[in-house]
Point group: C2
Chain length 408, copies 2
Amino acid sequence: MALYVYKFGGTSVGTVERIKVVAEKVKKAHDAGDQIVVVVSAMSGETNRLVGLAKEMQAQPTERELDVLLSTGEQVTIALLCMALHNVGCEASSYTGSQVKILTDSSFTKARIRDIESAKVHADLNAGKVVVVAGFQGVDELGNITTLGRGGSDTTAVALAAALKADECHIYTDVDGVYTTDPRVEPKARKLDKITFEEMLELASLGSKVLQIRSVEFAGKYNVALRVLSSFTEGKGTLITYEESQMESALISGIAFNRDEAKLTITGVPDLPGIAFKILGPIADANIEVDMIVQNIADDETTDFTFTVHRNDYQKAKALLENICTELGARKVTGDDNIVKVSIVGVGMRSHAGIASTMFKALADERINIRMIATSEIKISVVVDEKYLELAVRVLHSAFNLDKQANV
Amino acid sequence: MALYVYKFGGTSVGTVERIKVVAEKVKKAHDAGDQIVVVVSAMSGETNRLVGLAKEMQAQPTERELDVLLSTGEQVTIALLCMALHNVGCEASSYTGSQVKILTDSSFTKARIRDIESAKVHADLNAGKVVVVAGFQGVDELGNITTLGRGGSDTTAVALAAALKADECHIYTDVDGVYTTDPRVEPKARKLDKITFEEMLELASLGSKVLQIRSVEFAGKYNVALRVLSSFTEGKGTLITYEESQMESALISGIAFNRDEAKLTITGVPDLPGIAFKILGPIADANIEVDMIVQNIADDETTDFTFTVHRNDYQKAKALLENICTELGARKVTGDDNIVKVSIVGVGMRSHAGIASTMFKALADERINIRMIATSEIKISVVVDEKYLELAVRVLHSAFNLDKQANV
């Protein structure tokens, strides 16, 4: 007998029919003898409807009251799912965040989980019941209703799995797992059976929006085995877990890319201490997020400084940078908003040399010019012209044999 | 400085605009220096929408889960009303039933209030805040969400008023008070300034559906001054309170009527002990509610037994009664489903003789035949042919001078 936490997002519980499908899936696992805790989101569309109502009342809705309002979304789903479970003869009880209880701090709309009381859940599980918990919500020490912010239901599921010492936490989504890259770009993209938390974090932050970063971090921290599966098809999905020995032979796990990048360069900057802050300080003050940063010493002992921003922020960042250029007495500002970032990710690169050169050679063979390079322990990112995106992804996918099962 | 509990029903908070109107009304009272607790229902239509969803999941929705589901209705309203109050610069905090907390028994869908913790509410009021409480819901000792059943928001308001020792409990509805009779039947019907709890109970149960009987009983029991007012117009409404000396001169407070009545008579019943039970037992077993009951001894020492039922139950009751007739060896069953009940209600009849004869004379003068009579301490009901309903109400309204202010 194993204990699983299942999480179903808004799309998976978006209609009466889909809730019934979820109930059948849960009943099947329960009938097989496993203990099942289900975490659900609000039915898709419901949160937007409620936010719409709130904004009609108040342009900037009071956050405490917004949480009272939004938390009703999941409360509706837990009740309906329990009814659907009862309807197929499966015993189940629902719990709101405050009923469990999921204790959070008092940061309304973006609360952090502090503690989970699991006694009631264990009691119900031991009595043979399925336990259905509202995702996304908790309660602070004063009894105020809180919500966890975007992706909060994933966080609830992982935190519950940690608190209950569950065998696995299953995140059911509309994709059937984590792929080596986006199948819309490389049809040979292959579903991964396993991936490490660190790789998943790099892939997620680079655009594979399967899981919320926060829940992956949480799962890594508390060592919760996380599995991504499809709500709509059968299959084992992708298991996200700690690095294991047999994983080592896989050099690269996946290829991520970001389309909406732009890069800015300021050249001929006097090479003085604090120059990076003087350049990036005003950019940060304008709430513009900076991604890659590269600094080179030029021949004349001035510095060339390049960074990337989201394409939407390009014009604003460029204008700011031109002011900075004048202030610093730098040479000039250049920029390009027709670039993309392509990254290879894999824990294997820690112990294997030559991965970077394999990457650069593969791109060079196709005459894809690399505009920028940045590396981390398990990731190498390059900036290339936008027109090369698909080609670069496919070339790298092939160069690292990602279409073939790595370790079998 | 007075402490008021205001209750607004589903129609009064049915749209964003109406919630804003409620916020203005509450702010005005708060600005005038009064302490205000607001109890709200779900937005009109919301409860039906949720019940509809529940029935799609399960023909007979599990009651515990139905309460989890339905309680979201009021939770949405409290959050929206607080936002609307903040929007007009009025400090306010929302509370669900479990947050207050409103402790109930565990009878899901029809829970009874056991206790109300008023500490948080008083603290907020003393801090100058308006307190907004979700009606209709509570929490049992185990932390399960419960609902109070039909009219539960009125009950919440009255119970809160009792617990907080409020000066008055205002029930805002779509009528501006309690009338001497239905103005659609008698245009001369007059709004009453005051009425006793007992009279209100008789009027409510007879069809003046302004207030839920249970909340009036509750208000009477805990001596909560209850005022019925309109959400949409100004005015002092009707105060429902204990009998006071100056009320005594009003003989009759109002005239109630029920349209959907039917009567059944079984004649020639052998007059033996237990005969009433033998006749009414099978009727009750079939879940048919019996209203008036009259029994007469006939000349031949048999009994004639007559009772009224809701018109929808007439055919079913008649069939049952015909079986009973055969079993008991009674003479025959007759019936009439074209009848109505008209009642005069007033605490004054306790101390004044001749009220019944005034009633009967007024009806006789118009040749309205009385088919049945039943009396209680503060009420006289007659059954007449349906066609006489309006005439009877108007004649009695005039006979008891109800169109004129009674005690000024």
